[in-house]
Chain length 358, copies 2
């Protein structure tokens, strides 16, 4: 069997595999080609060449997420996951195909989910690092396993349903409303009967959020000179639930508009990712949390895995009824990783950013 | 019967009653005699002079609390309670004696708790505004009803036991550790088996906290040039529970030292009370809440009244066993209200500040 377009000799194929590695840390700013570099290595496609309990994976899709930024600063602040090692391949949530296996539970051709998938065309992985197989006949588009049924969908579900306690009539605000997590958060809140307003960084995103995701309204925050005034306009009755994806000035404006017992699940704070903390704009009105008895809860989805089955059941049901939709922005080929990653911070991508490797 | 040292004629006595009123709002800074003024009014001590369902109260004790500051800014930001009205008497949590009654449930001489007691020597109150009578034979010093068994004790209990989920071995940090709330918070955490460190603004307070309240250790934050370094020294294993009384820079330093799943109940943020919010120092590292999955919960004790009986039962038990102690700073006479209030912000008082009116 031939792989990677190269000739097989005596059952062994050598393929070229491009991979992205951490060449230098980026303490602030958007990481560039100075920090993330591409190199080509040879991978021997032979089961005999790998240890027992391992598989060789051909990468199909990689999820491009803002949290990756926190692994590239060179400062181990104990946030999210550890720093990537210098000169080592970086990793992201991915989907791949088993092409060689030395584990009886995995066969060639099976599609698997890999939470920490090397950003490369091929890789050798211990099979414990694969979380589950995808049934090719489950009727779910492969990409949805990275988005709707993946980390973004689960992050939205935990924030809205578990921590946000969304109820019919709740006034819900979603920042980064057209992003990979925000788009599901807003739709889930609508499905719970909430009044949902979103903010996004372009008119195109605002349009998408209103027309495709069914938000009650949305605004382009870059066109608002006074965020307090904007929130007062969109929330005459105050904010009960803020799904925070951005932090900073938007967080502050929300705290000036919250209702009693408001909930703020914090999934990420993208406005802070490219700045050393001492250079960030501080939030000055935390005192509002006291009088309004606000709960702010930071979270990572890994702590809610006991609810994962509930989430999948609910999301699949919505999807089958056509009540929830996804928007993906695809980048094609491993070479486009850097471009896809930078798009998260430039605000130039809409929906879930996905790198289609194969 | 003679009251106020004045002569009674035909069962009617007129007494002079001094009262503090809001002469001008103080948008920032510590309120002074420009904002809070004393005047004398005449009160007719006659049941016939008051409406049915009312009582005349002689004030005994007034609780001097930082939150009062928020009612004096002139900006109705929806925090805590509404602004005091200009030219009207201000109010605070108090204990008084019924001296005339037109309510069959209250008799002359009974001692009552008054959540919004006018800061005056005498007042006329609707009896619905009295929350309960104090049994003079309950063995509890009257002042403890304002502190240990009052709002400060309850605020500490809710923060440590309900929201803070204190467990044996938890690493607990209490700011304003020698204050009216902090002193109970630290002692309750010790009673739960936690390791407890406090911060306070003078060496005298640090000594008190360690020697009288049994904290494992404490430090004078005014002598620390680097709060991050101080917390690293006192919390080699990180912070699991921060009972926040101060906000600002201390809050920021704590977020740089929190453990996974840390809880931060926020009872008040005294460093912010005397500044318009746009002039406050912002907290720049809220992003730490995400990776560490921190819960920050603002609260007012009024929302936890269904637990009040549990609280009283537990606190009375500790008190009877001599396992919890109180420190009060008394100011004497209604004239001293302003001085007692200013002491909260000057950091010059230790323990619960109480104005003994009578």
């Amino acid at each position: 069997m031939a792989c990677g377009g190269q000739e097989e000799k005596a059952g062994v194929v050598v393929v070229e595999s491009k991979e992205w590695y951490m060449a230098a840390y980026a303490p602030d700013g958007i990481p560039s080609s100075k920090h993330l570099k591409l190199r080509t290595v040879a991978v021997l496609l032979s089961a005999d060449s790998i240890p027992e309990g391992h598989v060789i994976i051909e990468t199909l899709l990689i999820s491009i997420d803002p949290y990756l930024r926190s692994r590239m600063t060179g400062r181990d602040e104990g946030l999210y996951f550890p720093q990537f090692n210098l000169n080592e391949v970086i990793a992201a949530f991915g989907i791949g195909r088993v092409v060689r296996s030395r584990d009886g539970n995995y066969s060639d051709g099976e599609i698997v989910i890999i939470p920490f998938c090397p950003v490369s065309e091929y890789c050798v992985m211990p099979s414990q690092a694969l979380v589950r197989k995808i049934d090719p006949n489950d009727g779910v588009p492969l990409t949805d396993h990275l988005s709707l049924l993946g980390i973004p969908g689960f992050a939205a579900w935990v924030g809205i349903e578990v921590l946000g306690e969304a109820k019919p009539g709740s006034n819900v605000f979603i920042s980064a409303a057209a992003g990979g997590v925000g788009m599901y958060a807003g739709q889930l809140a609508k499905l719970k009967g909430c009044r949902v307003i979103g903010s996004a960084g372009s008119d195109e995103k605002v349009k998408l959020v209103k027309e495709e995701f069914g938000y009650d309204d949305a605004f382009n925050y870059k066109k608002e000179t006074d965020l307090d005034a904007a929130l007062a306009r969109y929330f005459p009755n105050g904010i009960d639930l803020y799904f925070d994806n951005v932090g900073g000035k938007m967080f502050e404006a929300v705290l000036n508009r919250v209702n009693k017992y408001a909930r703020i699940p914090v999934c990420g704070m993208i406005s802070d990712y490219n700045k050393v903390w001492t250079d960030r704009e501080g939030v000055r009105n935390l005192l509002n949390m006291v009088g309004k008895e606000v709960k702010v809860q930071g979270y990572l989805v890994g702590s809610y895995l006991e609810r994962f089955d509930d989430f999948i059941k609910e999301m699949v049901s919505y999807a089958k009824q056509g009540r929830i939709s996804s928007k993906h922005k695809f980048y094609h080929g491993i070479d486009q990783f850097l471009e896809s990653f930078e798009s998260l911070f430039a605000g130039s991508s809409v929906g879930k950013v996905v790198l289609q490797v194969k």
